[in-house]
């Protein structure tokens, strides 16, 4: 039984239909990537999942039960961060967690609050007002708030938005710990495709309010053709050869002397042989099969 089951979800804001037909399911133990370009309907879908927005149609089931009919029970088993976690800035980190703990639907001891602050690396800062926290610290406090009541499902909507590289790594490591140490089911919406590629085992891509593709990340990527990234000493000779022999392949200059070649037919070995023969000074060939390419291909359709 899937822990989350979304079927034909729809949401209209007046005349504008933000979500037209979104369906997917999340199994127990999944780290589920939720992808889509800006305006695809990701945030609206997630807000529907958390009962922030009332859907116009479709069904939302958690643990086999309707969200609509079992809202309190479902939400007591779900933890979430929607975009950026917002707190009562005039209160301390600990006070904020106490406030959310009281309405989490579970009895949470002060010791558990302290443990959670330790888990996200905010020990020693618990008495500080949130107004003095950096964005990264707020994000970590948000994760603490999310996990405080030991939820079965964790929903994270763009948890790395606005974070610096260090902050992104910290949040990513925290999610990996959720997966590996706490065995949580995670639904992760992110713009960081590399993040989804590293963390998620299943994913869905939506575009213009509709589900485009859903499945295992590695299976979906395997269906994808293997592109090449080549580094040469003599770029003009390579460009010349590609234009002459492989005009059907898209060759993009990534940066100085490095090219990305999109393969549409399996001519890799023959092409590499010709590169060597062309005298372009082939230095390296790196096979590329990335989620980014897959995502662009899916959302361009």
């Amino acid at each position: 039984m899937p822990l989350i089951e979304v079927q034909h979800l729809q949401k209209k804001f007046g005349a504008f239909q933000a979500v037209k037909d979104v369906s997917f399911h999340v199994n127990e133990g999944d780290v589920f990537g939720f992808l889509g370009p800006n305006g695809a309907g990701k945030s609206t879908t997630i807000r529907c999942l958390l009962s922030l927005i009332r859907p116009s149609g479709g069904t939302l089931n958690f643990f086999g039960k309707s969200l609509n009919e079992n809202r309190s029970e479902v939400l007591s088993r779900v933890g979430c961060i929607i975009e950026k976690p917002d707190f009562y800035k005039y209160l301390s980190a600990q006070r904020n967690l106490e406030i959310f703990a009281r309405i989490s639907g579970k009895d949470i001891a002060p010791r558990q609050i302290q443990e959670m602050l330790d888990f996200v690396g905010l020990n020693g800062r618990e008495k500080d007002k949130v107004s003095g926290f950096s964005h990264g610290m707020k994000q970590r406090l948000g994760i603490a708030q999310t996990l405080l009541h030991n939820p079965d499902i964790v929903i994270l909507d763009e948890p790395t938005t606005g974070l610096d590289p260090q902050g992104i790594i910290e949040v990513r490591n925290l999610i990996l710990r959720l997966r590996d140490e706490q065995k949580k089911t995670v639904l992760l919406s992110s713009h960081q495709l590399s993040e989804i590629e590293i963390i998620a085992n299943r994913m869905v891509i939506i575009n213009q309010g509709r589900t485009i593709v859903e499945g295992e990340v590695h299976e979906l990527l395997e269906k994808q053709s293997l592109n090449l990234e080549v580094f040469v000493e003599n770029p003009s000779k390579l460009e010349d050869m590609m234009q002459r022999l492989y005009p059907q392949l898209v060759t993009r200059l990534l940066y100085k002397s490095t090219y990305h070649i999109e393969m549409i037919e399996d001519v890799r070995l023959e092409m590499i042989q010709r590169m060597v023969e062309s005298g372009c000074g082939l230095k390296s060939v790196i096979p590329k099969r990335s989620l980014e390419d897959f995502f662009i291909k899916m959302t361009e359709k």
Binding site: F13, I99, G105
Partner: protein
């Protein structure tokens, strides 16, 4: 869950600076009036009693704590609504502005529960403000000016209420004043459910009070049918308690109309907040 969230709401009010602006302003205003009365109260009272001095002789202490309390209540009951709206108008809209409404609305507590606990907290705050108004105006004034009979000047002339007859009248008038302020608090909370920041609800609440008060004072027959049902008409009902004979029927009518307003406004708030899509 409702009780726990009410505790949360009280905690939020207690830790916000704006909550103390009202209490501070009220304290300051009362002490300014007390100081003014201490400095020049005799001439103020003399101005009021001058027209009666040819027909009446006044014995005893006219300028006493009871009179000062009555004057303070009369002066401030118009301004206290603003101080209350400052806090209650922020209760829902403030959560929207700071983004914490997302955190609240994704917890297992129902949206009705969220509104209800905020309304209870608003009620407690209004009660504290009313109690503070009563305490400062009555007890501090009595401590500074002593006690005595109360002279009330109303449309029927001069009414003198004996000192022994005043205690229950002050308590009852504070209860009715609380009901009027509670209506204002609920109105500000209702506006708060429609807004994304607290400025709108505070300004809207005061605008409604000003507009209704102007309509209430306009001597135009077209408004005669609605005047008895406007809450502002009944905001000064506390003053009727200092009349003789005691106008029980009028006071019951005011209490009923204010209560109906509170229930209606709370219902509007609950319905609105339940239907609201939280997109911030």
């Amino acid at each position: 869950m409702l009780l726990k969230n009410t505790y949360n709401e009280l905690l939020k009010i207690a830790t916000k600076i704006r909550s103390y602006i009202g209490i501070g302003a009220l304290t300051l205003l009362i002490f300014i009036v007390l100081f003014a009365m201490k400095a020049d109260g005799k001439s103020y009272v003399g101005f009021v009693t001058a027209s009666f001095e040819q027909t009446l002789s006044f014995n005893g202490k006219i300028l006493n704590g009871n009179l000062i309390a009555f004057i303070i209540m009369q002066m401030l009951i118009v301004h206290v609504p603003l101080l209350i709206a400052l806090v209650t108008g922020d209760l829902l809209s403030g959560e929207e502005a700071s983004g914490t409404v997302r955190m609240l609305a994704t917890k297992p507590i129902s949206r009705t529960g969220i509104v209800f606990s905020k309304w209870i907290a608003a009620t407690v705050y209004t009660l504290i403000m009313t109690f503070w108004l009563g305490f400062l105006s009555l007890f501090v004034a009595k401590w500074m000016f002593g006690t005595g009979d109360l002279i009330v000047l109303n449309s029927n002339g001069l009414l003198i209420l004996a000192e022994y007859d005043l205690g229950w009248r002050f308590v009852f008038s504070l209860i009715v004043a609380f009901l009027a302020l509670w209506t204002v608090a609920t109105l500000a909370l209702a506006f708060s459910a429609f807004a994304k920041n607290s400025v709108g609800p505070i300004v809207s609440t005061m605008s409604v009070i000003i507009l209704f008060t102007i309509i209430g004072t306009l001597d135009v027959s077209v408004f005669d049918t609605i005047k008895p049902f406007m809450f502002t008409t009944h905001m000064a009902a506390w003053r009727s308690i200092f009349e003789d004979p005691f106008p029980l029927r009028e006071i019951i009518e005011s209490v009923v109309i204010l209560t109906v307003h509170i229930v209606a406004l709370l219902t509007i708030t609950i319905v609105r907040f339940n239907k609201k899509d939280i997109t911030s």
